[in-house]
Symmetry: none
Subunit: 421 residues, 2 copies
């Protein structure tokens, strides 16, 4: 038996709010191991809500509804449910008292419309709402069908879910199987190239392996089902190990790791420091590095050399080279990296110079052309050229540039680490 | 006839990502005046996707699908659509060539699995994807039913929607009543404070005025309905004018304006230049400024002085003051701003130093305490103190710090501009 999420609210259909309730409930269901195959969004409209209820109650055993429990005339979820299952509404004196007390506490006057929130379908139980005036219901209108309702306000819904709904579901025998997921993250390899390398794994059934790609990063999600977390983890481990081995250095981390956090850990392990020199990213690389709490232990800072004058005055880029090769070139990228490393006295210096667009591209140097310079602890400097493509947005080119820079540093740090082992 | 949004992706059912595509499309449909009553989410599963298609094609005339167009075996949207409507898939040579070219441009190897992305149902048209390798389709599999497909990657989907889908829908006669929206954007005032100032406007019906708040910014969306864009605009203009007047300097821009773009325009108008000195934001202020194409005309660069040694060596912050007052203090913020202005020879110098957390807070200097320094063209320096609150995340504190810095510069530039009028 599976669950289904139904979010009720015209504001969702108008795009006025993001449906974060669906994501919250989806994650919770996954953690409880309750399968869930469909989500629906429908407006505050009784006819269309009934259509959705007809479809959902036919294919799912647990319907979770959010929204439409408020006091205004357009809040119709409870009465529509009662109508759909042909059951009258009954006023609950204890709910009415609770609502009256909450109004008194807040020094506000209770209006007749709030009385409506004390009506629940005959045979349903109240799902208490400690944070607000709109309670939900727990209802089994017929054998094999359970309905839970929640207000749309996320903070109230979360509390009601955790305090009442989860214990209820566990008592009912839902969530006996744990679903455990582990995400492997990759940079420097495309989705299709990685997918071909690990193709046989896509046929596994427990754990399953599924690929995702977003903004240049590829992920493999390994998910298992088992009666306990320990067993679920045990199913996953050998598969994760094999996938990591196949991917080699393209694998950079797991779950909430980022390129910046991984680079930070490697620098910490090596007891080394880093500085950056940024042109087209304008500070984005520094921002990524400093998004990691504790980054001050290895990241000293850098220079945003957006204008060429700053490349010359602070980073000591040779003006003749700048003139001859242009700001987006191998010699300039290398001198920027060496310059910032020397200026800030760090072990590593990392630079980015490129054409983020939409303007500024030429025949020989199109939009998306990016050079990354890496000045190393031994004083040598490497340079990497990335033709990131002319059809990408300015944001996308800048983001990918910063990620590629971090990735090159990461690969050098791994080589160094391996050579020490 | 109404539209329906169908988002395909197991990652949505697992709660791994927020369904921002549904919100984007919902807003776009509202703006086009296309009614839309249902949204569905379904996993990468052909049987269940067919169930959803059966329901949706029965109740809606325009189905908009996102997700499942990638190269891997679990990307099944296109072939499931073809199967559902009983039509074969046909390889499109021009699409194949486009994919091959994109791989070549990025210096990557095209794999056989990418060939799959060139298959589209017989009779469908290609919906080009300038930003990626997965094209969508525009398809009328039967009279009265139109299907549009998009990849799940938001940036690609947005571009495809705006460049191809919207013109197509207009040609087909959708969206005859124009809904025209104008968004006013505010910084430096809370949602409830602004709402009280403009309360009478919330009762209007055409145009309507609705408030939104996100990450410290408040927005008012003014929307009107009319048969033509010109009439819709005419309804909006006087209301926009009055709202701007009531809000005064807290209003910073409209629609796609950002604090950075507005500051950029003001600097351009004043023919002045800017540099930045960043501590806790680590480059985030520079990144915001350089997100604007053409920012090289007024933004020269800056120093990421994450470590105190860089504040002293490059920005000439007095080591005694640093010792006495600490890095997060008024004297240090002021010296950072003056230091970078002098180092890069710009008209303005803008600095940020603060405690982004989660660690590093003390009794007297809690997490969220931020100082912003502004060195002005006349050589004087101002300082602004922001206690941003201890309960905010590191990301949120860093983002708000950069916005407040831009906002203070904006207000000074406006005063200067007004004094010239």
């Amino acid at each position: 038996m599976s669950a289904e999420i139904i979010c009720v609210g015209t504001e969702l259909l108008l795009g006025e709010i993001l449906n974060s309730n669906a994501q919250f409930l989806a994650l919770e269901l996954a953690n409880l191991g309750i399968p869930h195959y469909f989500q629906s969004v429908v407006g505050d409209n009784p006819t269309r809500l009934k259509q959705v209820l007809a479809i959902a109650s036919d294919r799912s055993g647990l319907l979770i509804l959010t929204g439409g429990l408020g006091p205004t005339p357009d809040d119709l979820t409870t009465e529509t449910l009662a109508e759909f299952f042909g059951v009258p509404l009954v006023e609950q004196p204890d709910v009415l008292e609770d609502i009256a007390q909450k109004f008194a506490e807040r020094g506000r006057h209770m209006t007749p419309s709030n009385r409506k929130q004390a009506l629940i379908p005959k045979g349903a139980e109240v799902l208490p709402n400690p944070g607000g005036t709109a309670p939900g219901i727990i209802w089994q209108p017929r054998s094999g069908l359970t309905i839970l309702t929640f207000p749309g306000v996320p903070s109230e819904m979360h509390q009601m879910w955790r305090e009442t709904a989860v214990p209820f579901l566990k008592r009912q025998g839902w969530g006996k199987q744990i679903i455990y997921s582990h995400t492997l993250r990759f940079w420097g390899i495309g989705e299709s190239a990685l997918a071909e390398k690990v193709a046989p794994f896509f046929h596994l059934t427990n754990p399953t392996v599924a690929p995702y790609a977003s903004q240049g990063e590829v992920r493999l999600r390994v998910s298992s089902r088992a009666p306990s977390q320990a067993e679920a983890q045990q199913l996953i481990e050998p598969v994760v190990e094999q996938l990591r081995e196949i991917a080699g250095a393209d694998y950079f981390g797991a779950n909430s790791d980022t390129l910046a956090s991984v680079v930070g850990q490697l620098l910490t392990d090596a007891d080394q420091t880093l500085s950056v020199a940024e042109s087209c990213t304008g500070g984005g690389l520094g921002q990524m590095l400093t998004a990691i709490p504790g980054s001050s232990h290895y990241f000293l800072g850098g220079v945003i050399s957006y204008d060429n004058s700053v490349k010359v005055s602070l980073l000591k880029v040779n003006p003749t080279d700048l003139q001859k090769w242009g700001a987006v070139s191998k010699p300039v990228a290398k001198q920027m990296a060496a310059g910032v490393r020397s200026l800030l006295s760090t072990d590593w210096g990392l630079s980015i110079t490129g054409i983020a667009g939409p303007g500024g591209g030429t025949e020989t140097k199109p939009v998306g052309l990016v050079y990354i310079g890496l000045a190393k602890p031994d004083g040598t400097v490497e340079c990497f050229k990335y033709p990131l493509g002319q059809n990408r947005s300015r944001d996308s080119i800048r983001y990918a540039s910063a990620c590629h820079a971090l990735d090159q540093l990461r690969r050098r740090l791994i080589i160094r680490l391996n050579s020490l082992l």
